[in-house]
């Protein structure tokens, strides 16, 4: 019975995790494309806030370039990330993916902060990233930067295990447009277009739009699922104006996106969801003789409908959530001398969640932040960086309180302060070696849902059960340390990293073992409460080995990751009390081999991925939360293209050509998906 009740509740939105976030370092003032062309390698600002060569950063960073994106078999950002070391990408359903850095695999992963040009696309209400709601097309991405390890001192809350910073292309001085159309089996169709238009000498406009349709995968027998299951649909439109006046640049933009798909909630219950999001943003950067300054602000609106199209079964209960995020950030980067820099910044953010399924009509918090970063080079071959950030959060609730109230309203009148930090030492050893020791502490915020969610189970029970958040939850501390060495041998780059990450007081949503964890409230109408809770600590440690290079028109990349997880979480014996078990859900071994060839008119690329077996949570048709084995897998992805003219390309691509059931790391077996299409450049 408890399982059934939980299912109903969780199906509507239950489980969850932390949240929140930050504005990036220096929005779009840096011309990444021009700098990359000059130094011959990608440039990033995601580590210490100043432009750095990818080979010189004081952290584990992966940068995927526009060229690599264009030739990849992948069709979305998680698909691009899955072939790199230290990353777990679980495509739970056809539309829902989660990216975990160095372990801690779970649905609605709240520990990875995701930004597009510095604007948070991570969704605060649940602390998740909907990769089909980014509002950006692959064709307009200049590069994708993945920082592995806490980066909270630069980005704030939720950059707890890492950051994905997606940088879009700047328009050129001439008008240009790109259109991509593709179709394949399993109902896959995608149409995307981008255009860049100079408007006079100083103003540029950029427009993009996309439409995606895709059938859901076939569920294995015995899994609990809503009927019907919605297929994936995603539509996006975006626009931006930018103007350069001397050393200053101003941008104004906005986007709208919608997405419908079935997802595993943090409770591991499958539920159909519909999201609609919009944003407006503005930024101003100014370049000076001493460095630069930036001022950025944006507003994100999200409307999320949980439990649509059959997710709610016969009880017709759903959980709409509205979330609005307002963020403003200012930063200045000073060149102290020829090599050393100081960066200081401040940020204010307000995140507000409204809906009927929560403690009160509105649950909200304000966050004020100050950060500073010092990057010093006491001698030519040594770099030292240290950064710290103070975040002060004020939590609150307002509006009508749902009765019976399961918490004292005063419990929401709460504030806390957290200090995040990062530090790194980089030593160049010889002409081609680089030794790196770095670490830090970041925080994952409890999400608005985990603070203030409240949803009665629909099924009749002797005593009503309510799944509820807790205003007393504390931010989850994530400590990390790593030692890395990179070595260049001509065009070949070798890298080895050992890492250790500890997560304190991880937050989880109730599983189906409600009994021991229920709180009884002896109100005039007694109720039982099942809460989101801090369920324990765990640590991951391991090694990452990478090599990459290029020989004439052939480029190659291999990597291997070993990840071990230890912890004292609440256990996985039936009935499962909380749906969080990173030791079981994180693969211990992963290896990738990628090859690419570009011969001018012809190009081809392939990726072979090995992932060790795991066990993943899912509800059975008997409404029990169970572990399902996901077999180890060797998945093959490939893409080939032929350029009929410089402006017209035909391509065919396929994912999981080897038909490995465990390729997606999901209880729902992976299938093979093949598509073909055309890409036109005007």
């Amino acid at each position: 019975m408890a399982a059934l009740l939980l299912c109903r509740t969780l199906a509507l939105g239950a489980v969850l995790a932390p949240l929140a976030a930050a504005v990036p370092a220096s929005a779009q003032a840096v011309d990444y494309s021009a700098l990359e062309a000059m130094v011959g390698e990608p440039v990033t600002t995601s580590v210490i806030g100043k432009p750095q060569r990818a080979s010189e950063v004081a952290a584990s960073v992966t940068i995927i370039t526009a060229e690599q994106i264009a030739r990849s078999p992948a069709r979305d950002v998680p698909g691009l990330l899955k072939g790199y070391a230290g990353v777990d990408v679980n495509r739970w359903t056809a539309g829902q993916s989660d990216v975990a850095v160095r372990g801690g695999v779970q649905t609605y992963n709240a520990r990875l902060l995701v930004l597009v040009d510095g604007r948070q696309v991570y969704l605060d209400h649940y602390g998740l990233t909907d990769w089909n709601l980014l509002g950006v097309q692959l064709e307009e991405i200049q590069q994708i930067e993945l920082v592995r390890g806490p980066a909270a001192a630069l980005f704030g809350f939720n950059a707890a295990s890492g950051v994905v910073n997606i940088i879009t292309k700047r328009g050129g001085d001439a008008a240009s447009a790109h259109v991509t159309a593709a179709a394949g089996d399993h109902g896959v169709s995608r149409l995307a277009g981008t255009a860049s238009l100079p408007l006079g000498g100083t103003v540029r406009a950029r427009l993009s739009a996309g439409r995606l349709r895709e059938d859901e995968r076939r569920l294995r027998d015995g899994l609990l699922a809503p009927t019907p299951i919605v297929d994936v649909s995603a539509d996006q439109v975006a626009g931006e104006l930018s103007a350069r006046f001397g050393a200053s640049e101003a941008t104004l933009g906005g986007s709208h996106a919608s997405n419908e798909q079935i997802e595993y909630l943090p409770s591991q219950l499958l539920s159909n969801q519909r999201y609609r999001s919009s944003n407006v943003r503005a930024g101003l950067t100014h370049d000076t003789a001493w460095g630069g300054a930036s001022l950025n602000g944006y507003v994100n609106w999200l409307n999320a409908d949980y439990g649509i199209e059959g997710s709610d079964g016969v009880n017709r209960v759903s959980a709409p959530i509205d979330n609005r995020l307002v963020a403003v950030k200012a930063a200045a980067l000073y060149r102290l001398d020829t090599d050393d820099t100081l960066r200081i910044g401040g940020e204010y953010r307000n995140s507000r969640m409204r809906g009927p399924a929560q403690f009160a009509e509105t649950i909200a918090y304000d966050v004020g932040s100050f950060d500073a970063m010092l990057d010093l080079h006491p001698i030519e071959r040594v770099g030292v960086s240290a950064a710290a950030r103070v975040d002060r959060l004020w939590l609150g609730q307002s509006g009508a309180i749902v009765q019976p109230a399961l918490d004292d309203p005063a419990a929401f009148d709460r504030a806390f302060t957290r200090l995040s930090f990062n530090a790194a030492l980089v030593v160049q050893t010889g002409a081609n070696g680089r030794l790196r020791l770095n670490g830090g502490r970041g925080y994952q915020l409890p999400s608005l849902v985990s603070f203030g969610f409240r949803l009665p189970l629909a099924a009749p029970t002797p005593v009503p059960i309510v799944v509820t958040g807790s205003p007393r939850l504390r931010p989850v501390a994530v400590w990390s340390g790593e030692l890395g060495y990179t070595h260049a041998l001509g065009a070949t780059r070798l890298e080895a990293t050992a890492f250790y990450t500890r997560t304190d007081d991880a937050i989880a949503s109730p599983g189906d073992g409600l009994g021991p964890n229920l709180e009884l409230f002896l109100t005039p109408s007694p109720v039982l409460a099942a809460r989101f809770a801090a369920v324990g600590d765990y640590a991951t440690y391991g090694t990452e080995w990478q090599a990459s290079g290029r020989v004439a028109a052939l480029d190659w990349r291999v990597n291997y990751t070993w990840t071990q997880t230890d912890g004292d979480l609440t256990g996985t014996a039936l009935p499962v009390p909380y749906a969080l078990a990173p030791r079981a859900t994180t693969p211990r071994h992963k290896a990738n081999v990628a090859l690419g060839y570009d011969g001018g008119r012809w190009y081809a690329s392939g990726l072979a991925r090995y992932t060790a077996a795991t066990r993943q949570f899912a509800f059975s048709t008997t409404q029990q939360l169970l572990f399902y084995r996901v077999d180890d897998a060797v998945a093959l992805d490939a893409r080939g293209g032929f350029r009929l003219t410089p402006a017209l390309e035909l391509f065919v691509a396929g994912e999981n050509l080897s038909l490995a059931a465990g390729a997606t790391g999901s209880p729902i077996p992976a299938d093979r998906r093949v598509r073909g299409g055309v890409r036109v450049t005007l």
């Binding site: 062309a37 050393a247 060149r335 040594v382 030593v427 002409a431 260049a488 065009a491």
Partner: protein
């Protein structure tokens, strides 16, 4: 203090300057020009400073001309080159950018003086010219692109670069 730290950390490591190749890496040099502030625009004459009779200099000049062809885009500017012999450096004053070829080391003092008078940004593959503050920008090549900017020479030539650019190069 820096010396102490350096001695402690670098002990055992190989300290060797990156070699600069004889011929200028022209595509990189053109990109460097695009980071000048304020940005250049329109057709921009660029000098190739040569030492007539010096084979290395003439070969370098020819390579630069081959690489640039009829003109190369540097941001919103288009560079059109013309040779300027070291015997006629007064004519440098009509240029904003000059590529200093190899084989002109004996004349680098005069080139620097002329460049300062005419606010000309000098770019070379000769690291010694940059180290001596006689050229503004040095471009090394090899497996790893290395760009050096001499602050004193830049100041003398009234040249300013964007801060993002300066954070990626070696400034001396």
């Amino acid at each position: 203090m820096r010396e102490l730290i350096g001695a402690a950390v670098v002990a055992g490591s190989v300290v060797a300057p990156l070699p600069l190749r004889a011929e200028l890496n022209v595509p990189i040099a053109v990109r460097v020009v695009s980071f000048l502030q304020p940005p250049l625009s329109g057709v921009m004459p660029a000098a190739i400073v040569v030492a007539p009779g010096n084979a290395a200099s003439m070969a370098d000049a020819a390579a630069i001309e081959r690489s640039l062809g009829g003109g190369a885009a540097a941001g919103k500017a288009t560079l059109r080159t013309k040779r300027v012999p070291v015997t006629a450096l007064d004519s440098l004053s009509g240029y904003r950018v000059a590529f200093v070829t190899a084989g002109t080391r004996d004349d680098q003092g005069a080139i620097a003086a002329a460049a300062a008078r005419g606010s000309v940004v000098t770019i070379t593959s000769d690291d010694a010219c940059v180290q001596a503050a006689r050229c503004v920008v040095g471009i090394g090549s090899g497996a790893r692109v290395q760009i050096t900017v001499n602050r004193a020479a830049a100041r003398a030539a009234n040249a300013r670069f964007g801060s993002a650019f300066l954070m990626l190069v070696k400034e001396i």
